[in-house]
């Protein structure tokens, strides 16, 4: 509970910073970590394996910039599932992943990763430019100095992932 509490505080800090235009003082990855956590709340995995699993594997692929920011999320319960943070060494490990954050470092193998992710039915998130157009599901973008995101509904549908309309409302752009 302490962890959860801390996350909420973090979340709150982040949000309050954004709104006051102090975004730069917090690192982008702190914000993105919070986003990741929050995305999960608006996502339904329709494939039975992911849907029924009591665990929610949040995988980070590549050199990740989050450092220990994600640690408090581990073991957190979201949608009655327990979050497990997994740092993948190999993209082939991603079959168990519910959420797959693709680090900027992996942009060269993006097509391979995305086709694998497609098989894994994972929610792909990345801050690689053009990620959504390339077939990723959620891609971070920076509008002015605010971090927003884009959504590719086609990819989501292909991965049998349902995104809440509330989330879509907030998306900077939705690819259909």
């Amino acid at each position: 509970m302490i962890g959860a509490r801390r996350l909420i505080i973090l979340n709150t800090i982040l949000l309050s910073l954004w709104s006051s235009g102090w975004a730069r003082a917090t690192t982008d990855y702190e914000i993105k970590a919070a986003y990741l956590y929050n995305f999960v709340k608006f996502v339904q995995w329709e494939r039975s394996a992911h849907a029924l699993s009591p665990e929610l594997n949040l995988c980070i692929l590549g050199r990740h910039p989050f450092r220990d920011v994600l640690a408090p999320l581990n073991q957190r319960k979201v949608q009655n599932r327990t979050i497990h943070i997994r740092y993948l060494d190999d993209e082939r490990q991603m079959m168990e992943c519910h959420v797959l954050f693709v680090s900027y470092s992996e942009r060269k193998q993006l097509d391979d990763i995305l086709s694998l992710a497609d098989q894994a039915k994972a929610l792909t998130v990345s801050d690689i430019r053009g990620f959504v157009r390339d077939g990723g599901i959620i891609g971070f973008v920076t509008v002015g100095n605010v971090i927003r995101f884009e959504v590719n509904l086609v990819s989501a549908r292909a991965s049998e992932i349902h995104l809440s309309s509330k989330l879509l409302e907030l998306a900077e752009e939705v690819v259909k």
Binding site: A4, I8, N11, T12, L14, L15, S16, W18, S19, A34, Y35, N38, K41, F42, V78, Q79, S164, K166, L167, E169, L170
Partner: protein, 486 residues
């Protein structure tokens, strides 16, 4: 008894008021209870509705809250504008920082520290503050204040509608009641008018029109029956009256005839009875004068007795004539000076019997209303009586006076003569009764009966007080004027 406003109202108005009251009360009570029910229901529904809306907005705003999209939050709140009653909506994050607000009522502001509440009504507003929950975690608060203007307007409209319905009902009821009431009141008014006419015209042939078979109908029937009875009795009375008048007329004519006959009888008595008496007396005298020398003492005495008997009978007839005349005489009222009348009688009595020594005492100025002729006859009789019965006194006294302290005044004629035993007093005023023998005092026995009749005809009273050998006092009153006035 105090006459209240209600009791003065005509029945028509009473019925109308009753109908109006009872018929308006219904819609009014229904309207009032519906308004009350509506008010409470509306509050409940309003609470539920706003709560639902708040839930929806809160739910919709979860993502915007967690992703810090204030524009989206603002947009979400803006959608509340559609709901006219919403006056204020504030979206707080978990730190109670206002992230978006919708202020539709300028006087309102987002409070600094919102307290979560399911909803309450205060200061003309419905207050709802609820948590925004995402995946079981509170992530912010949504405060909504909804004004009750809508409720007011709603209830106002409802009340207006109810009032209109009431008005329409009243008009409709008035119309119908007026029509129906006529059926009730018209027979009553008809009955009242008939009763008034009957009372005014005394026309018992009138009948109230029978218009219904209800209680009023029965009343009308009973009234008509009553009229029929009255009419019958009235006719009976009229008939009896007629018969009575006929009887009175017959009796009156009979009485007139009787009076005429009495008059004729009196006339006949005065002529036909006196004529033979004159003959008896006259021829007796002739015998005495022409053949007196041929008669002995006894014969002369007998003839003398014949003469005195016939003369007594003449006097008797004369008295009867006077009595009859007193009875028949038509009274003519005027001022009569009794003192002067008495004085005249005194004079004539003194002239006739100059040898008598009598002490007279006549009170002067005794004036009264009455018939001069009759009072003269009465007074003459009384004074002659006194004169006669005091004739054997050496010191005779005759007094005539009046006690004016009494009402009416009491006149008296007294003498100090023979007097009589009071036990015969009741016989005194009856014709032909005498208390003294002719040997003692001459008299017809009719004089006091005549006096009594004169006093009676003046509606007065006569009575006597007497002591044997000490004297007699006659008292009488006269009240002719009382009768004249009556």
């Amino acid at each position: 008894m105090k006459v209240s406003f209600w009791s003065k109202l005509p029945i028509r108005s009473k019925l109308l008021l009753l109908t109006l009251f009872s018929s308006v009360m219904g819609p009014l009570v229904i309207a009032a209870s519906v308004i009350l029910y509506e008010a409470s229901t509306y509050r409940l529904e309003n609470l539920q509705e706003v709560t639902v809306i708040a839930n929806i907005v809160a739910d919709r705003s979860t993502a915007a809250l967690v992703f810090g999209d204030n524009n989206q939050l603002q947009e979400n709140l803006a959608s509340l504008q559609l709901r006219k009653t919403i006056a204020l909506a504030c979206m707080y994050d978990e730190t109670d920082l206002v992230r978006a607000s919708l202020i539709l009522d300028e006087s309102l502001n987002c409070p600094a520290a919102p307290v979560v509440h399911e909803g309450y009504y205060a200061e003309e507003y419905l207050h709802i503050t609820q948590q925004v929950i995402l995946d079981g975690e509170p992530i912010g608060k949504l405060l909504i204040q909804a004004s009750l203007v809508e409720l007011r307007r709603h209830l106002g409209n409802f009340a207006l509608t109810a009032l209109l319905v009431c008005l329409v009902t009243i008009v409709a009821i008035l119309y119908v009641a007026n029509v129906l009431q006529k059926r009730i009141t018209d027979p009553l008014i008809n009955l009242t008018e008939t009763a008034s006419r009957v009372a005014g015209e005394k026309n018992y042939e009138l009948r109230a029109e029978l218009e219904s078979q209800d209680e009023i109908g029965k009343l009308v029937e009973t009234f008509n029956d009553m009229l029929a009875t009255i009419e019958e009795q009235n006719n009976h009375i009229l008939k009896s009256n007629e018969e009575l008048e006929k009887t009175v007329a017959t009796r009156t004519s009979e009485l007139l005839t009787a009076n005429k006959e009495l008059e004729a009888f009196s006339y006949s008595v005065s002529h036909d009875l006196r004529q033979p008496l004159r003959a008896i007396d006259g021829f007796s005298e002739a015998i005495l004068e022409d053949y007196g020398d041929q008669l002995d003492e006894m014969g002369l005495s007998y003839l003398q007795r014949v003469r005195s008997a016939s003369q007594r009978m003449g006097a008797l007839i004369q008295s009867m004539l006077v009595l009859s005349r007193v009875t028949r005489h038509v009274i003519a009222l005027k001022e009569v000076n009794l003192s002067e009348s008495a004085e005249a009688v005194r004079q004539s009595l003194t002239d006739e019997n100059p040898e008598r020594q009598v002490q007279w005492s006549i009170e002067p100025g005794m004036v009264t209303k009455g018939d001069a002729n009759l009072l003269n006859i009465a007074l003459s009789n009384l004074l002659q009586n006194a004169w006669k019965y005091s004739s054997k006194e050496a010191q005779a006294e005759i007094r005539f006076g009046v006690d004016r302290s009494a009402v009416p005044p009491v006149f008296y004629v007294s003498d100090n003569g023979a007097g009589f035993d009071m036990k015969y007093a009741d016989k005194l005023f009856v014709a032909f009764s005498r208390l003294h023998s002719p040997d003692e005092f001459e008299g017809s026995g009719i004089g006091l009966a005549t006096v009594n009749r004169v006093i009676n005809r003046h509606h007065g009273r006569i009575w006597v007080e007497s002591t044997l050998n000490e004297g007699t006092t006659f008292y009488f009153t006269l009240d002719a004027e009382h009768n004249a006035a009556g």
